[in-house]
């Protein structure tokens, strides 16, 4: 007896191929090498499950997030690793690239970091060149960019 719903299954497989094709197109847009398709935000969400961008672009710099508390015009460093030790597979969440581009997340983090006498919290992204072939990764060609400063309540 032939398998049931064969035509439907073929259509599902073809639909899935189209879906992955669309997801690839969105990945190219996110890489900055293709024009955004019409209705990009909706398509971004729709294709989220089909995007497979892994180690695609050159990542030749290490990256760190520096948090500082402001008090009386002076800034002092906050040990983020001690405050937020949670790891999941690839290090702390606040070191993910996605984190830097989201002011909402940075503001939530700032509010959590504000101490009793702190006036503000600011974040700086520190990057430095990777050194292949050696364990030590000294801060060569270091670059610092302030991501934002948030007033404490």
């Amino acid at each position: 007896m032939p398998e049931r719903f064969r035509e439907l299954k073929v259509a599902a497989l073809l639909g899935l191929m189209l879906y992955f094709g669309l997801a690839y197109r969105v990945s190219l847009t996110n890489l900055g090498v293709a024009k955004p398709p019409l209705g990009l935000p909706a398509i971004q969400a729709f294709t989220w499950l089909g995007r497979w961008r892994m180690f695609t672009e050159l990542r030749d710099r290490h990256s760190d997030l520096l948090a500082e508390a402001g008090r009386g015009g002076a800034w002092s460093a906050i040990d983020l690793a001690a405050r937020y030790p949670n790891h999941w597979d690839e290090g702390p969440g606040y070191l993910r690239d996605d984190f830097y581009g989201d002011p909402r997340r940075l503001e939530a983090l700032a509010l959590d970091l504000c101490g009793l006498s702190d006036e503000a919290v600011r974040f700086t992204r520190v990057t430095w060149a990777k050194s292949p072939g050696q364990h030590e990764q000294p801060h060569i060609a270091e670059d610092r960019s302030v991501l934002g400063s948030f007033d404490c309540p």
Partner: protein, 285 residues
């Protein structure tokens, strides 16, 4: 339409289903290994108020946050589900779904941690759900190839899209430097072997080109019965290489666990018979 009917008859001709029996066990073992490895981090990563900083677009953790006991309970439920999947029979699919739901519940609030491995798990669970994994005697019988086709589409898109992006959009994958930098990444790599390889331009170039050839060539080679076992062997080499050099979580083991299904079913049957003839008692022949 006799032609299309003949095509459909051939396309949906039952094929050896033993690959699913093997992959079910391997997938369960890979997931159990990942589940155990995450146990110490359940409280810190998934039940701490700081999870809100890892939130995804839905910001679920703003509204629902597990207590440590609840998080470990959900983790334990997933663990039990995986044992059901490992045991097989009527426990296989319910166990799979219990694990998948518990995993989703744990990581849903932690959006930054939902990435390629989690997406792959979703597709693997879909394929395993429509596969005959709960049926007895799979090693000796044929079944519908639909779930295998589904998995082929998923794997084909996974490898092809990442391979095309690397080979067409990042020239440094062709000279090996992109891989060399990844091998000294603070979170993904940095072990002695990875650091050594990152300083060997010829070796790292060979590994880089190997990756590109495999990822782009997979979808074409897997469709040809003569080539499918060789491209899968290349894939085993690539994933074992990544596993020994880098730490990218459970993705490699889970991907490899499903390779027995991707193998041409006739090759799989022959291989299984050859193995079973050497050790009939152990392999149930």
């Amino acid at each position: 339409m006799p032609l299309s009917r003949a095509l459909l008859d051939e396309l949906f001709r039952p094929r050896w289903a033993g690959g699913w029996a093997i992959s079910r066990v391997l997938f369960a073992l890979a997931a159990i290994d990942a589940q155990i490895g995450r146990f110490p981090h359940v409280r810190d990563a998934l039940a701490a108020p700081t999870i809100v900083f890892n939130a995804g677009p839905a910001h679920i953790a703003d509204h629902v946050l597990f207590s440590p006991v609840a998080a470990w309970g959900v983790w334990g439920l997933g663990f039990a589900g995986l044992f059901g999947l490992f045991r097989g029979g009527s426990f296989a699919k319910p166990g799979l779904w219990v694990w998948a739901l518990s995993y989703a519940a744990l990581v849903a609030g932690c959006g930054l941690n939902v990435r390629v491995p989690e997406r792959f798990i979703v597709w693997a669970v879909v394929a395993l759900s429509v596969a005959p994994i709960g049926e007895p005697g799979l090693l000796k019988k044929d079944a519908s190839p639909f779930a295998r086709y589904l998995l082929l589409v998923v794997f084909g898109s996974l490898y092809l899209s990442t391979g095309l992006m690397k080979s067409l959009e990042e020239p440094h994958w062709w000279d090996g430097t992109a891989l060399a930098y990844d091998l000294v990444d603070r979170w993904h790599a940095g072990g002695p072997l990875a650091v050594f390889l990152s300083g060997q331009p010829i070796l790292v170039w060979m590994a880089s080109v190997y990756t590109l050839v495999f990822e782009v060539g997979f979808v074409f080679a897997i469709l040809w019965p003569r080539w499918s076992k060789w491209v899968l062997l290349m894939g085993v080499g690539m994933h074992l290489g990544i596993g020994s050099l880098m730490d990218i979580g459970p993705l490699g083991a889970m991907v490899l666990s499903l390779y027995p299904v991707l193998l041409n079913p006739e090759d799989g049957r022959r291989l299984w018979r050859a193995l079973a003839s050497r050790s009939p008692a152990r392999l149930g022949a």
